[in-house]
Amino acid sequence: MQRYSLLNLARNALRGNKDWRAAWRTPTPKRGYDVIVIGGGGHGLATAYYLAREHGIRNVAVLEKGWIGGGNSGRNTQVCRSNYFYPASAAFYEHSLKLYEGLSRELNFNIMLSQRGVLSLAHSEHELEINRRWANATLMSGVDSEILSAADIKKLVPRINLESRYPVLGGFIQRRGGIARHDAVVWGYARAASALGVDIIQNCEVTGFQASAGRVRGVETSLGAITADRVVMSVAGHSSVLAQRAGLRLPITTMALQAMVTEPIKPALDSILVSGAIHAYVSQSDRGEIVIGGAADAYNSYAQRGGLPVLQGTIAAVLELFPSFSRLRLMRHWAGMVDITPDTTPIMGLTPLEGLYINCGWGTGGFKAIPGGGHSMADTIANNRPHPLIERFGLNRFENGALIDEGAAAGVAH
């Protein structure tokens, strides 16, 4: 792997930047691997990276039907935080955030993590109480959290209109929360995994599974059959479609989640603002765009485009909070297909088909979980048992009733 450093940058600049090599290899697929990862998004690539790095399993292929990072990994709004309500969730997301904190150095790739604080707003007395309970639960789980008054918020976010249609009465902040460049996370993991021997195969769609005697033996793909005794699915919104090819039905609903950016402006908004009550969140990217997202379009969809009503509602909510943003023009608007579970907690771990593992159900918040998801899935695959942090996230919780209902704690209600 060609290391990125100031010295290397200067050396290549002097040579006219002719000697940069591709960040990852483009191999033709072998006939078989030890592990096949389906899905070349953040979770899949991180899983492959940690399999190679932590467990010495380097004969690994990542199969991506499009191009890597072309799905939800390139469509999300880049938010990282770990202030979840239930201890099981907080422990997992905190693990993920800690991995994010060291990731630029570990991958030798600047993921541009900017821990500028994720601020949740309360618009009523009742919401203030719930926020307090939430912030305290977070603290009990060992995750940083701070309750803020309306005056504190005004100080942090001078442009906010506290007297909006739904007035801002207070809130709480996780100061270690922030944003990271989503493409960089994907590219960084791909480059590091490739350097450790992982084959990244793009434009390779998995069309079926090979199984015998109750265990998986490999996959059928658009490039032919590839064998592997261990296969992991990490395909987000298409999880139900892929799982059906393995004879599984999942408790997942696929919906469109929209996001948009305005034209870039000078720094105007430092924190990431989240409001569950008015279904909107907003931040400013390092490029200067105001990044806006809202609730999912509340019906099944695989269309990778959203509807106008949710878009209008989200924009209206953000403009109430920031009237000055009304003068900005929207530059891009898009949607990703999100896989929502009944309790809005992910599904990770083993499946009824031996050797087949699953990592899905991230709904509207999978980006923050990329390092933690990849790390714990790699451990799960290497040892054929759920990593301790994801024991509660298994498919079996729908049968035994041990749901982790994070719907209320996920920032924006699903």
Partner: protein, 106 residues
Amino acid sequence: MLRLACPYCGVRDQPEFRFGGQSHITRPDFEVSDAVWADYLFVRDNLKGMLYERWLHEYGCGRWFNVARDTATHEVRAVYRMGEAKPMFHHEQASSCQQTAKVGAP
């Protein structure tokens, strides 16, 4: 934006409606296994293609009805009242029918 033809009020814009998930689900007997009960409670058809679903005309007549819609194209293939049999389309996957039967089996 979706436009749905409520069987009672006619064509209206999506904001008047609320989505109610998959239709034609039958509650199994109480004596079934946890797996079958979990399937009934939580698992829904989530395929790329035809979905039989319920909608509520919330800001209209307040009545529920069924819609057959393609989840990839959003094309509405049929609208029909609660209690009516679901219309079949020639390209429909047989597996979807089997799954529906499985949900209702004891």
